[in-house]
Structures are given as structure tokens and as C-alpha cells.
């Protein structure tokens, strides 16, 4: 029996060995190397020069770093909660018995499978201030549309708008969550005389809160990795209004080849995400409800 278990354990390690190797090389070793490089000045051609924490202190005095941090945090603060809320509303809407339900679900989910440069180009053209369709439609109702990506005040909101277009992505998971709520809960609430709004806040929301939480976490991490949109559409402009952290990091690493400084940025990004995740987990005790 013991021998059998041992054989199974060996097989188990062999089965997961691809991931273990990948983890050691592409995660653990890589993170370590990034930290080492972050303590140097290096352009990948000449030798590394040891600067200790010089890159980190340089970062704090760099106004573009603070701009990138501000832009990314603003983007996350608006795009994540709005995205989760809109996605959840879509799921609520499409969790009813409607005619052509699968057609509607297809339409709402479609943007989730579309991404890349093509979608960025599409939005550039859709939000073109003079010849785009959005300002055309706004003009029908007498609104003089803004300059969108060309206006420093509107460029970041435009990126948020772009991200909301794909909010239907979360719908599938929310629907699964909604359908997992036992109907008895609603029935007993009905007997107790609870109205639809009460049922929503006291049953629906707590019951799907783990799913909402999962999406908030993944959405937050995702928002810090948004790159293609900013690179293709605005390249950080106008006036650095859309200088997302990932773009700032990319520019330093692969345009200026400031590998040391960019690695320090990478490490700070890692710490920020870690901090935000811990903060979200801590806050989740107050609002996420686990049944089991």
C-alpha cells in the first residue's frame, strides 16, 4: 500500500513537472532577476553598473512616474467597478425569460471575444471628433460631442468607455452565479413580505458576491496590464493623459533600453498589485458572503 502511494506521488510530481519547471524559470528566477537588474543601470549593451536603490529613488523624483501611477489608478478606479456593475446588470437583464434569449446573450457577449489592434483602431475611428459615429449620434440630440482621444480631459474617460464595451465578458460567470441561488431563498423572503428591491440587496447580491469579488480582483489586475489600447490609440497622449503604467514601463524598457529603471518599475508594479490584492481580500471580509 505504501509502495503504491509512493509510485502515485512520483507520478504526480512528474505530471506537474512542466508547471514546476516553468514556475522556477519563468516566475521565480525571472522575478529575482528583475530585482537584481533593478539595482543596476544597464542598457543591455555595456556592462551593468551597480546603483543600489538608485533607480527606486530616481523614480520617486520622476514626474512621469507619478503621472503614470495616477492615470492607471484612475483608470482602474473607474473601469473596474463600472465594468463589474454593467456586466452584472447585463446578467440580471438576461437572466429573465425573454424571447430570443440566446440571440441577446450572443450580442452582449460578442465584444468579449474581440480584442487586439483592430478593436483599438475601430474605437479611434468611432470616437473621431469630426467624422466619428458617436459625435454624429450626439449631434442628433443637440449635443456637441467632445474631442475624445484628442482632448486631455476626455482621453482617459474614452479608454474607460472602450473597456465598458466588453463588460459582457463577465456575464457568463454572473449568470452561472445567479442560477446557482436556491429558489427557496426567494420563496421564504416572499412569505416574509420582502419586496423585489429587498430581495435583490439581501439575497441576490450576497449570494453572488464571491463571483463579483473574483471579477473585481481579476479586473483590477487586468486594468494594470492594459497596454494595446493606449499604445495604438493615443501612445500615452495627449499631454500624457493616457500614460498607463504598462506603457511607461514598456517605453523605458524597449524604447530607451533603461533596463534597470524599467525593472524597478516592474517591481513596484508587482508590489502595487500585491498590496491592492491584499487590500481587496481584507475588504472582502466585510462584503463577500461565502455559503460554505
Amino acid at each position: 500500500m505504501l509502495k503504491m502511494n509512493r509510485r502515485e506521488a512520483i507520478a504526480g510530481y512528474l505530471f506537474i513537472s512542466p508547471w514546476i519547471i516553468g514556475f522556477l524559470v519563468f516566475v521565480l528566477f525571472s522575478i529575482g532577476m528583475a530585482f537584481y537588474v533593478s539595482l543596476t543601470k544597464w542598457d543591455m549593451i555595456s556592462d551593468k553598473v551597480w546603483v543600489g536603490f538608485g533607480n527606486y529613488s530616481a523614480m520617486l523624483g520622476e514626474s512621469l512616474f507619478w503621472q503614470a501611477l495616477k492615470v492607471t489608478l484612475l483608470y482602474a478606479i473607474f473601469s473596474v467597478p463600472l465594468g463589474v456593475a454593467v456586466g452584472f446588470m447585463i446578467a440580471l437583464l438576461l437572466n429573465q425569460r425573454l424571447r430570443g434569449l440566446s440571440f441577446w446573450r450572443t450580442v452582449y457577449y460578442l465584444p468579449a471575444v474581440l480584442s487586439g489592434v483592430a478593436v483599438s483602431l475601430m474605437w479611434m475611428w468611432v470616437l473621431n471628433p469630426n467624422f466619428g459615429v458617436i459625435n454624429l449620434m450626439l449631434s442628433y440630440i443637440g449635443i456637441n460631442g467632445p474631442g475624445w482621444f484628442t482632448d486631455p480631459a476626455w482621453a482617459l474617460p474614452s479608454l474607460v468607455l472602450m473597456s465598458l464595451w466588453g463588460a459582457g465578458a463577465g456575464m457568463v460567470i454572473y449568470l452561472a452565479g445567479l442560477q446557482g441561488i436556491p429558489t427557496e431563498l426567494y420563496e421564504s423572503a416572499q412569505i416574509d413580505g420582502a419586496g423585489p428591491l429587498r430581495k435583490f440587496w439581501n439575497i441576490t447580491v450576497p449570494m453572488v458576491s464571491p463571483v463579483l469579488f473574483f471579477n473585481v480582483i481579476m479586473g483590477t489586475i487586468g486594468s494594470f496590464q492594459t497596454f494595446t489600447e493606449a499604445y495604438v490609440v493615443t501612445n500615452g497622449g495627449p499631454k500624457n493623459a493616457t500614460l498607463l503604467y504598462s506603457l511607461y514601463l514598456y517605453t523605458n524598457a524597449f524604447k530607451y533600453f533603461k533596463m534597470g529603471y524599467a525593472s524597478a518599475l516592474a517591481w513596484v508594479l508587482f508590489l502595487i498589485i500585491l498590496l491592492l490584492t491584499l487590500l481587496l481580500f481584507w475588504s472582502s471580509k466585510k462584503w463577500v458572503h461565502y455559503t460554505d
Partner: protein
Amino acid sequence: MRLSRLLTYSTVFAGAILICIPLWWMVTTSIKPSANVFTFPPELIPSKVRWQNYSDIFLLLPFVHYFKNTMVIVLFTLVGGTLSSAIVGYGFAKLRFPGSSVLFMVMLSTMMIPYHTLIIPHFILFKNFGWLNTYLPLIVPAFFGSPFYVFLFRQFFKSISKEYNDAARIDGCGYFGTFLRVIVPMSMPVFGVVAIYTFNGVWNDFLGPLIYINSESKRTIQLAINALKGLHTVEWHLLMAASVCALIPSVLIFFFLQRRMIQGIVVSGIKG
């Protein structure tokens, strides 16, 4: 009651219209003659249709070549990534070994490491291997499994009854034989889901090729459209036609396989 139904339907309808407006604008622009692109006010419905825009972009750029380039990456990633994730997922789901749950938690937590934290060390690593301007940096990492897909496979394999394993073991199959001959054939739905996600991920990946590929002949579709944008900044009819072409594979896969895609997410039971 009637009123609330009406309200629901009109909301659903209005939302669907909002989602379709950008797509409509892209598709209609892609078939307008260049003279009709910059009219004021813009044309919501094209007054003239010019299908040659599509043949024009194939003349401007060797799209078929870029399509092939991208498919090379897609195919290798698809095979390597799916198989390795499945193997790892099986190890976590069905085999008992010390530390398995801790390692599984470690794996899940690596999903929270931002990709941008790792691009620089990866770049240095692959540069030392002499892999710059090849597809290897975009393909090889997939062969070590990706945490999210491992997670999907594990959830699916866990739902398979233990008796299948035992029966196969009695018939003399080793652990790997059991996996390959018994488990894989009955897990086609989850393989399908992972394959679809992999396809979409690789097809639409921009940052990876942007970092590693620098010769024109090795460009992927995403790099090619981005280059087209640089060359033909104001020719929106061409840019939109190219964009439509780049999106067609994802749309086709979605329409034909959406039930499978959506089921996959639900079956794997991502509930936080």
C-alpha cells in the same frame, strides 16, 4: 407587469444597439469609397459601396503571409499549451502527492503576478538564448502550462468518477496511459474551451510580438495592422477593412462554438 416587460425588452434592445454601433461603423466604413469617408455630416448608411477596399489591402500588405506567420505561433501554442496544461491539471486533480494543495495554491497565486513584471527578465533570458526575432519566445513558454488553463482542466478532471481511473489501472494502464487513453478522450469539451481561448489569446496578442519580432517578414497579423496604421494614417476605409479581416476568425469561432465556450466557463465552476 406588462409595463415592466416592455421596459426590459427596450433596455435589452437599446443595449444591443449600443454594442453594435461601433461594429456597424467599422464595417460600413470598410466598404465606403475613400471620398465618402470624410464627409460632413458622416454617412451612417453608405451611399456607395466599394468592395475593392478589401482587395486593396491585400495588395498593400501581404496579409496571407502574415496570416501564415500568426498561424504558426497559434498551432504550436495550441498543441503545446493545451497538452501541458492538461497533464499538469490531471496531476493536480487525480494524483495524490505531498504538497499538492500548497503547490496548487502557489500556482493560482501566480495568476496575480502582472505580465509586465516579467517581460524584462523574459526578454533578457530569450536574448541570451539567441531567440530574438524568432517565434520561440512566443511559443516555448506555453509548453510549461498556463495556470488558468491548468485550473480549468483540474476542475473538469475532478468531476470524472474515480472508477474510470481504477478500471484502467486494473487493465494494466500506467498513470500516463490512463490519462492518455481514458481521460483525454472523455474530456474533449474542456480541450475545446482551452483551445478556443488559446486561439483568441495568441491571435490577438500584440505586446509579445511587438517586443520579440522586429523583421517585417516575420510580422504577425496584429503587428501588420499596426504597421498599416503607421503607413496609411488617414485612409480609414482601408484600416477598417484590415480590422474586419483581423477580427473575422474570432467572430467565426465564436458563432460556431459559442455554446461550447460558454458551457466551458460554467462547467469549470469559477465561483471565486
